[in-house]
């Protein structure tokens, strides 16, 4: 019994530790005060209004959506293509290529950022949307690859062979069988790619110009310039977006499970 109690206490403390920052910041999104501190004098939605009307914040939200969408499209296409390629077991160096694709997950973002800046400058892509999208894609692709490889691994190869024998050309097998069966994996990869782009700050600092300030980047700079509760409102938006994304991933995963 005391053991059980201790376990319960430990679990509660761990959860508290994990969510404490959220508890600290989220209520401030609804403050009427002009500074980002407690106590909250009264409740108000003025900072959400600020978020959607002030030019800097509006542009940041807009940029995040543009860059997030671009990254999602590019990373999903590239990641899906890579996963399909990695499926071919004839490539004996497949294992090392797979590792290569997942590398951006563990390489420190600052290292990638420096490299990115040098590289993009060479192509004249610094301070451009394309540059930021490319940078974000590099870190988003691994999430797509992991997710799609998982989905592809669950497809019975004989189902594709059967389709071939029934008269489907390789392209048709892909369109009618492989892709639909892998689709939940592709979609959850896409959602994770979007989330990665939304959240990415370090690379953005290196490659984005003032015109490509994303929401995350804007929060980062404004917390040092003026500590306005708009940051808390932006954080609140982030949390809502993250929860939606999480729900989407869970939904796709359960679709995948049902297909089996």
């Amino acid at each position: 019994m005391p053991m059980k109690l201790a376990k319960f206490a430990f679990a509660s403390l761990t959860i508290l530790f994990l969510v404490a920052p959220l508890i600290a910041i989220l209520p401030l999104a609804f403050t009427s005060s002009v500074i980002l501190t407690y106590p909250i004098p009264s409740w108000s939605l003025r900072w959400f209004e600020e978020l959607f009307t002030a030019d800097a914040w509006r542009r940041a939200i807009f940029n995040s959506l543009i860059i997030g969408t671009g990254t999602t499209l590019l990373a999903t296409v590239l990641g899906t293509a890579a996963s399909l390629g990695l499926r071919n077991r004839l490539l004996f160096f497949c294992g090392s290529i797979r590792t290569l694709f997942l590398l951006p997950m563990v390489v420190p973002a600052v290292v990638l950022g420096v490299g990115m800046q040098v590289l993009l400058a060479g192509f004249g892509l610094t301070n451009s949307y394309a540059g930021v999208i490319i940078a974000h894609t590099v870190v988003a692709v691994p999430f797509v690859v992991v997710s799609v490889i998982g989905a592809l691994a669950g497809i019975d190869e004989r189902v594709e062979l059967a389709a071939q024998s029934l008269g489907a050309s390789p392209a048709t097998v892909f369109r009618r069988v492989t892709l639909p069966l892998a689709m939940p994996g592709v979609l959850s990869g896409a959602v994770l790619a979007f989330a990665t782009s939304l959240d990415e700050v370090v690379l953005t600092l290196f490659v984005a110009g003032p015109n490509q300030r994303t929401l995350a980047r804007q929060m980062f700079s404004s917390i040092r310039e003026n500590i306005s509760p708009a940051i808390a409102a932006a954080a609140f938006l982030f949390i809502v977006a993250t929860i939606l994304i999480g729900l989407a991933v869970v939904l796709f995963r359960s679709m995948l499970a049902k297909r089996r």
Binding site: V159, L161, Q164, S165, A168, R176, V177
Partner: protein
Amino acid sequence: MAEFIRFDRITKFYGPLCVVENLALGIGKGEFVSLLGPSGSGKTTLLMMLAGFEQPTSGNILLDGTAINDVPTHKRDMGVVFQSYALFPHMSVGENVAFPLQMRRLGKAEIAERVARALDMVQLSAFVDRRPSQLSGGQQQRVALSRALVFEPRVVLMDEPLGALDKQLREQMQLDIRDLHRRLGVTIVFVTHDQSEALTMSDRVAVFNKGKIEQIGTPRQVYDEPATRFVAEFIGETNLVEGVVEAVQGQEATVRLRSGAHIVSAVSGSVASGQPVFLSIRPERVDLSETRGEARNCLETEVTDSVYQGDHLRVQLQNAAQPLIAKLGRRSREFPPGTKVYAAFSAGDCRVIAP
């Protein structure tokens, strides 16, 4: 029967491993041929080469007289049924069966009509809108069957399609498939490692061993006239008795056993006097009696054990040092251990097999 499929000196290597070795096999139009053999003998590999999923290392596969080595699977017009059914999990039963027809760009109305007919044929009309995961194993296999038949392919290939079903359902499906084959007249190549399944269903059985065909013939031929020791032992149960040929007279040979007894037996291949051979005697062809009867072959034996097995009585005998098994019909009397009996069988009921 016109020859429709020909495997012409097919060899297949996986790396250094020779899986199919210089194999020749002809299959007639509308014929039902089973490939029967132990695990790893190359049956699936041969089927996969016929379907176009694998390429032979050397040799040609001819379909209706033309080599199809370079024809991709989707243009070969062969329906394939796998042990794992391989239904499209994201499509309904109806969509699964419609798939090959859509690939052939048939009109909507015709597709609907043919799907309905194909599902009716396997008694699954009520399940058109179900997903495969909502069907039992037997029902899934029937969907796979109707999907492979609906486009009237030139050949239907089946790789142990009934392996995952329980005994009762398997036997029912065996009869259903045989019935469909008779009605549709389609050529079927059927892989199995279940010998009774092969005997039940096929026009001819090809017995595989280590990438080669040991014997091909009608079920009656491979059972009653096994050409090799492997075939005799693999198909059904048999008594193998060592002996030496003393004389050959046409289709019969006289063989002297180690015990000194002489047996007159039918011969499948060619044997010469003085050659050491095996005799294969099916247990159910052996009669037991207490007196020496009229039969050409009669061995003095002693009963060592007898077991009642419901549909037959299984009696273990000993002739000199040679063990023998006899399976007797249900109406047989009991043979308690120790009884001296004569084991009798005709010359046609045993076979001389060169080792």
